[in-house]
């Protein structure tokens, strides 16, 4: 980072009117992202924002970088093409729980396992917003919506668990309204090589208001936000009276006074074994009750784009640059004389 500030947040705003519903969590996320981009020493023209379809996917129109608003669910695949074509770019994917986990679930898991150089922002509001309020793959069981008047039947995804199970090398979770934490998560994800997934609990105040109330209400939030901090014991509560222990049965919440601080789990995001991170992700099955927030996993794996670039360079080094004339003769030739 240079000392001089290269950009202001305004440099990342476009002249397009932002058209989310008043009070939507997307506004806060947009502000956090723009603020974060302004702190970077990355040229504005090196960022590409790629989105699918849904409320969150309007995002690229509002960020003054290169951007693509694409096909429902396909943003991770399209962004893969952008990122591996030019590994110099910083490529962001903006998706939602319907776009990323329902119609586009396949592309999301494959982008993660390949470790394509992507920063994936998963706006999880647990509802279909753009189509006006149908249950989504992260809605709680029994959710009553227009398409599930008797209550939804299917079990929801836990996006962090899904990402960990997809071999993701970086997985984190944050809350839309906590701008400082969001920016810290964006920073850690962007500094990590390869695919990162940041689940952002995003309030849809029109179709699913207060879905995250346990984590946002003044009276309950301290007892429900489990902040994961690398290298520190996982304790939470107004007076850090609660902690998390990990044993063979998994991870569970305990009272620190009962087990002693020494027995509280010390969080290591760089643990090569993803099982502990997975156990932490199972403490809650959604934003209900005590829920971990922060970086679950952050390990070093070479990115797809970088390795592919190395292969191309090595091939050119070994064989020389491609020679078209030699190529078409490579299967043997014969000459017919006049």
């Amino acid at each position: 980072m240079t000392d001089t500030v290269r950009y202001q947040r305004a440099d990342f705003q476009t002249d397009q009117e932002v058209r989310w519903c008043p009070g939507c969590g997307d506004y806060t996320i947009l502000a956090s992202v723009q603020s974060y981009l302004a702190t970077l020493d990355i040229d504005r023209d090196k960022h590409v924002f790629v989105s699918g379809i849904g409320c969150s996917s309007r995002f690229p129109y509002y960020v003054n970088t290169y951007g693509m608003h694409t096909v429902h669910g396909r943003a991770p695949a399209i962004a893969t093409g952008v990122a591996i074509s030019n590994p110099e770019l910083t490529v962001w994917v903006v998706t939602g729980d319907g776009d990323g986990l329902s119609i586009g679930g396949n592309h999301l898991i494959h982008a993660l396992r390949r470790n394509v150089n992507l920063n994936i922002l998963l706006f999880n509001n647990q509802i279909y917003g753009l189509t006006k309020g149908q249950y989504s793959p992260t809605s709680e069981v029994g959710k009553k919506t227009k398409t599930s008047p008797s209550g939804s039947i299917d079990l929801p995804f836990n996006p962090v668990s899904l990402a960990l199970g997809s071999e993701a090398s970086f997985v984190a979770r944050t809350l839309d309204m906590d701008r400082n934490h969001t920016i810290e998560m964006l920073k850690q994800m962007n500094e990590h090589e390869g695919a990162g997934l940041l689940e952002i609990y995003q309030n849809c105040n029109v179709f699913n208001d207060k879905a995250f109330i346990d984590l946002t209400d003044k009276n309950t939030r301290d007892g429900n936000r489990i902040w994961l901090e690398d290298g520190k014991p996982i304790v939470f509560g107004a007076d850090n009276e609660y902690g998390v222990v990990v044993d063979q049965q998994g991870a569970k919440v305990v009272e620190v006074s009962e087990v002693g601080l020494d027995n509280v789990h010390i969080h290591r995001a760089d643990n090569p074994n993803p099982s502990v991170a997975f156990a932490l992700s199972r403490i809650s099955q959604g934003p209900y009750g005590p829920t971990p927030l922060g970086v679950f996993r952050n390990v070093k794996v070479p990115s797809y784009g970088k390795v592919l670039e190395q292969q191309v360079a090595a091939a050119q080094e070994q064989k020389g640059p491609g020679d078209l004339s030699k190529l078409i003769r490579s299967r043997g030739t014969w000459t017919v004389s006049a």
Partner: protein
């Protein structure tokens, strides 16, 4: 060859102008390899040739069954041939199933070579024979040659050190050796190939060479043959040739396009028969700067290609019928955001999984109309394996120049068939222009400000300061490129997208007509060879018939309407239910007559010829 002295007592080989040979056996018998090597020797000998591999969709269907029969047909000639031939003059049947599956195609009086060792009870039963056809006189209409290939191969390879299954695996080389003697092919190209493939001293290498020579010597010593045949080298135009398979030529044409457009190539594809070998060929070419990406599915294949196009690469995705359906939605986005891309569709028998390894021309209307909304796209097709190089190059040229996705239609026949290709001077290929955007500090960058002539929008690639812009599937304002819901703007943009494709007609050659008369045979794609052969035969027989073949299906060549108006009758042979026929009837209001064959096989010249006579004489002459 040292065997030359032995052959001196025999009658001189009979001179023939061309022959169609079909090698048929079990999938595991190595018939594709035997056929390919026979072809390679013929190419080096200087014959013109055309090949037609035909194999089951199953990798290993149950041994000995008709479902498991694999065949390779090659047509070799001393003249410039255009098709792999309609019916074989010679059939090699390695087992009863192969005989059963292919005998009906063999011309009466044709040469039939059978591996007698395979005609035992179990194999006969699997093929559905109650009695052994090589003993019951049912093959008397053919010149049958009985060769106990298993026993002779076993004996021949004894000293090689080959063991177990490797011993009988060499019997395809026995068959190849025998065929090489009958048709007087040199053995050296095959032995050279064996050495380069299996090493000089390996047991497999020695076994294959011994089996090859044993087959050749069987031909010399046995009394089965009255004479051998010789096909003199063809009088092909002078120059350097290679024998090229259609998918390879397609891959190379795409690379040539990237090279002449000075844009590095990206291919995002999902494996699908019969398109996969294009991905495989391009994956080998990393030193050309090619980045290949095997995607998780067809949608991600085209998706990654579209992302690559945004990033400034020549984007390619390859597929076959069912895959084209999956790519449809992203293809609409590609044309909406106007980025260059080539979608290669290797048409196969459909619908659904259909006939995955067989040919059909049934995706033309899907390529034209298989997208939601008003979504016109250019379509280019290829007429033969070697023509695929130029067709792929042309698809790239249109994509880059006009900033549009292009569909390149080839098919399952062209994909795997081969023919000699007079190598072009690649340095003389034209450079391909592309509308790269440049930054102008005095003006706002407008991503939809078009080239007035081509209507192409500027291509602004991430990493260029001052050209930051957003594209997307929502309708754009015609001027600013911002999202617009204005009704008149949508109409303007719909017309503009359509006009852009129509204007390509000014940039492509006019369609040429071969011959003259009142009847025009109009075709497209891989029916070229069959139609041209049929028209030439009809001409030779004194009939005035003309042939026109379309490379560009959309837009059509600008003179097509005029050409069609100049004929009383138009015959359109296609391997579908009449898709081009329907298009030209709708577009030009001409009374085109369809001729359709949908059997998963290439169009046959004699069928087209018969149809020509039927039209010339009127229906009553039937």
């Amino acid at each position: 060859m040292s065997e030359q002295t032995l052959t001196e007592d025999r009658p001189a080989p009979q001179q023939i102008q061309d022959v169609v040979i079909r090698f048929a056996g079990d999938s595991g018998d190595g018939m594709q390899l035997a056929g390919t090597q026979f072809t390679a020797s013929s190419a080096i000998f200087g014959n013109d040739l055309a090949t037609l591999p035909n194999f089951p969709a199953e990798i290993r269907a149950p041994a000995g069954t008709i479902a498991g029969v694999s065949s390779f047909q090659v047509h070799i000639a001393d003249w410039d041939i255009l098709t792999p031939g309609d019916n074989p003059d010679c059939l090699v049947a390695m087992n009863p199933a192969a005989l059963k599956a292919h005998l009906h195609d063999l011309v009466k009086g044709g040469l039939l070579i059978v591996n007698t060792d395979a005609f035992e009870d179990r194999n006969l039963a699997k093929a559905g024979y109650d009695v052994n056809p090589i003993e019951d006189g049912s093959l008397d209409a053919y010149q049958i040659v009985r060769a106990p290939m298993d026993a002779l191969t076993k004996e021949a390879v004894k000293e090689s050190g080959a063991k177990g299954r490797d011993v009988l695996r060499s019997k395809n080389f026995f068959a190849l050796g025998l065929m090489s003697w009958i048709y007087q092919r040199p053995l050296d190209p095959v032995t050279d190939w064996i050495t380069s493939k299996f090493g000089k001293d390996s047991a497999v290498s020695t076994a294959n060479t011994l089996a090859l020579k044993a087959g050749y010597n069987f031909g010399i010593t046995t009394e089965s043959f009255h004479h051998t045949f010789e096909i003199k080298p063809a009088q092909l135009p002078p120059g350097e040739y290679t024998n090229v398979v259609g998918n390879t030529a397609t891959a190379w044409g795409l690379v040539a396009g990237a090279n002449k457009g000075n844009v590095p190539l990206f291919i995002g594809s999902y494996p699908i028969t019969p398109a996969t070998t294009i991905l495989e060929e391009l994956a080998r070419l990393q030193n050309f700067g090619v980045k290949s990406f095997q995607a998780e599915d067809e949608i991600a294949g085209i998706g990654s290609a579209l992302g690559a196009a945004f990033s400034g690469r020549l984007a390619i995705t390859t597929t076959s019928g069912p895959g084209l359906a999956l790519k449809s939605e992203t293809l609409s986005l590609a044309l909406m955001i106007e980025l260059p891309m080539v979608v290669v569709d290797i048409q196969r028998g459909g619908p659904s999984t259909g006939l995955p390894t067989k040919v059909e021309q049934s995706d033309l209307l899907f390529a034209m109309y298989g997208r939601h909304g008003e979504s016109p796209l250019p379509i280019v097709s290829t007429s033969s394996p070697s023509d695929a190089f130029g067709a792929a190059f042309e698809a790239v040229r249109i994509a880059l120049k006009f900033m549009t996705p292009v569909i390149l239609l080839t098919d399952g026949y062209i994909a795997t068939a081969s023919e000699p290709w007079l190598l072009p001077d690649v340095d003389a290929l034209p450079n391909i222009a592309k509308p790269f955007a440049t930054y102008n500090p005095d003006a706002e960058f407008l991503p939809y400000l078009r080239d007035p002539k081509t209507l192409a929008r500027p291509w602004a690639i991430p990493g260029q300061p001052g050209l930051e812009h957003r594209v997307g599937g929502l309708e754009k304002d015609a001027t600013t490129g911002n999202v617009s819901y204005d009704p008149n703007n949508h109409e303007t943009m719909t017309h503009t997208r359509s006009d852009k494709i129509k204007r390509i007609a000014d940039d492509i050659p006019e369609v040429e007509v071969y011959g003259e008369g009142d009847l025009l045979v109009l075709g497209w794609g891989s029916t070229y060879g069959a139609i041209r052969t049929a028209v030439m035969r009809a001409n030779k027989a004194g009939h005035s018939v003309a042939h026109a073949h379309l490379r560009h299906l959309n837009p059509s060549p600008r003179n097509l309407g005029e050409v069609l108006a100049g004929f009383d009758q138009i015959l359109v042979p296609e391997i579908n239910m009449g898709q081009l026929s329907r298009l030209i009837r709708a577009e030009f209001l001409v009374p085109a007559v369809s001729f359709n064959r949908i059997q998963g096989q290439p169009m046959r010249a004699r069928d087209v010829e018969a149809e020509i006579y039927k039209l010339l004489m009127g229906e009553d002459a039937e």
